[in-house]
Symmetry: C2
Subunit: 386 residues, 2 copies
């Protein structure tokens, strides 16, 4: 199957919106969703009621909620992409399909949650349909939370390639330094040193506190349309040059995975790069789904920014921090801005490409890679450019 | 937005497979899914491992399940269409998008459940994310199960248009008569008279026992590919001429719906007909998502087979039964074959178009309309033809 599937530049991002990110929103997820959506429509210069496509999150706000609460007139396209945290980026692929086929004109991609004040990930030990293997093989052995599962991949990489805790720390510190330049980040005013990183309390070895993403409340929204319609938008639009999704075998478990480090991104990357006609060396920055420090390293490897095994060295010495060789997650990411299921990464890429990032604006920003990661391996890569 | 979106005949149905339909399968849903999938691949003449696209059901078998249990090598397209019972038909739209764009080569559309021996619909009074209105406005008033909600639409139609219980009964009897000619139908050996229909125990007025679909165990699967690839398939392929989805306001509740009888199908229909370049009068039969008797009538109206309010007369006197003017659900449908979430309707349309239906084969069958209905109003229409 060719990577060039005729979807290059089929989608324009014309509006982005965010609520305040906090530990306690005091609002329902629907209210957060409405606020973010209206902000994105305002940013795009469209009437929110012109939205006729919607990309809901599997366990969040429904199409019906948005139709009712935003007074949408008609929705003609509304698939749920059940790829966990990869869904925000994979959503760009579905938008490309629908826009290219004329199935919808303005598509709303939305995430809103009270991930801090509401139900916490890992709270429930129950498993969903088709996850009986967890009941049988994981929960009885104490493998309950994402941190525990992701830590196993990290440990494997450390053992095999000599990746160190200090290299993981370099990821945490880079994200924190980015967040310290971003007033919307939860960690805007809180600095982090390597000593603090190394001495923080353990969560699931080798992960300690600062290896783990934040729990946060908030919402983000993105409005997508065709490049033709984007010409009328209020702001310069950003195009999706290439985008692809990938599913590894055993995406929701490490059991039965032939290659412990292969993820959906591993196979998605080459297709997304081919579609865009661009490669890693053409990127000015990357927004990487940083659920945990090592997973940032792993995705930089699997997306092709460095060979597998060399990610630890790639992130050392502030290379991915502010002013570094290759900035990653200039908003602070899930680790230090907020956990909005990766849609905040799409928002940040858009803002950087538009040159709206103030103190943290990259001097040069023509193209940005955005990755998504869901469950324990579903992945997506999008290449956004001006 | 034009209905002709360039997706006409983008999808070929090349394989269909079903398990036995029963009240107690004695197998897990995953095992049923595997059996149906392998049967569909055998029917199509492909290796199941060539499947690289998967259309899962929101609350069923996951992509990971199928990758693991069918040894799929790579899945590059796997959206969940969260439209309840409309998802099977809407899935044909997503297949069209992916196949036209080259995102996948062979797409598996699958449903498997133990709807009789496993969890029953309406068992749980709990509500999902974004369904707080049910907690507030429906459950406290006893509006708990699909039958109760759908009955309200039926009562409205009876009041407004004079639709009678005998007309609802005509739907039940037609389905049962079809099932009596279909050995795979749960009700194959059980006839139904109008007197039995009228005197059956009430479920949710005006619905009595035989107005309601079956609870059943079983699985069905369909393999979809491009018309080009379909030329190598084992059987004559069936094309999807047109397909569209629609979402009414307040899809999951009757509260706040301006038009009590408008459903997703109301807006989807004109787009699907335009895409196919065909209309209701070109159809030789229809497979209608018959969750309840009246909803069959309602969809015949909203899809354009007769004007709104005239559906009761349309179905009278065996008109939609075997040998009738316009056969509907020749397999027996959800009412008398099995409730496989409407995918059995796609299977039956395919088999009729291939001329494989034995005693129940239609004399002439060049084009068949298939509808889907989910939640309390999401809808889809597909036009399948030879």
């Amino acid at each position: 199957m060719s990577g060039d599937v005729g979807l290059r530049d089929a989608v324009a991002v014309i509006g982005v919106g965010e609520t305040e990110y906090s530990k306690r929103s005091g609002q329902s997820p629907v209210a957060l969703a409405v606020e973010a959506s209206l902000a994105a429509a305002e940013d795009a210069g469209i009437d929110i009621r012109d939205v006729d496509g919607f990309l809901p999150y599997a366990s969040g706000i429904t199409t019906e909620d948005m139709m009712a609460n935003l007074s949408l007139r008609q929705v003609t396209f509304a698939p749920t992409i059940r790829m966990g945290g990869a869904s925000a980026v994979a959503g760009l692929l579905y938008a490309a399909l629908a826009l290219r086929a004329g199935l919808a004109s303005y598509i709303l991609l939305l995430r809103a949650r009270n991930g801090s004040s509401g139900p916490r990930v890992g709270d429930r030990r129950s498993t969903g349909a088709g996850e009986e293997f967890k009941e049988d093989f994981e929960l009885p052995y104490g493998l309950n939370t994402p941190g525990q599962r992701y830590a196993l991949m990290c440990r494997h990489h450390m053992h095999r390639y000599g990746t160190t805790r200090e290299q993981l720390g370099a990821v945490a510190l880079a994200h924190r330094a980015h967040a310290n330049a971003n007033p919307t980040a939860l960690m805007y005013e809180r600095t982090l040193t390597m000593e603090q990183y190394l001495t923080a309390r353990p969560i699931a070895e080798p992960y300690h506190l600062f290896d783990c993403c934040l729990e946060s409340d908030g919402g983000a929204a993105v409005i997508l349309t065709t490049p033709d319609r984007a010409r009328d938008a209020r702001r310069p639009s950003v195009l999706v040059g290439g985008v692809a999704e990938g599913h590894p075998q055993s995406a929701d478990s490490l059991l039965g995975r032939d290659d412990f480090l292969e993820i959906g991104l591993t196979t998605a990357a080459s297709r997304a790069w081919a579609m865009a006609g661009l490669g890693p060396s053409d990127m000015d920055a990357a927004m990487v789904y940083d659920c945990f420090t090592f997973q940032t390293i792993q995705q930089l490897e699997e997306a092709g920014f460095c060979p597998r095994g060399e990610g630890g060295a790639f992130v050392e010495d502030g290379a991915i921090g502010p002013g570094g060789r290759f900035p990653v997650n200039t908003h602070g990411g899930l680790l230090s801005q907020a956990h909005i299921l990766g849609l905040n990464h799409v928002v940040e890429a858009t803002r950087q490409l538009r040159g709206e990032c103030g103190d943290r604006q990259l001097a040069r920003c023509d193209a940005v890679a955005v990755t998504g990661w869901g469950d324990l391996g579903d992945g997506a890569l999008a290449i956004l450019h001006r």
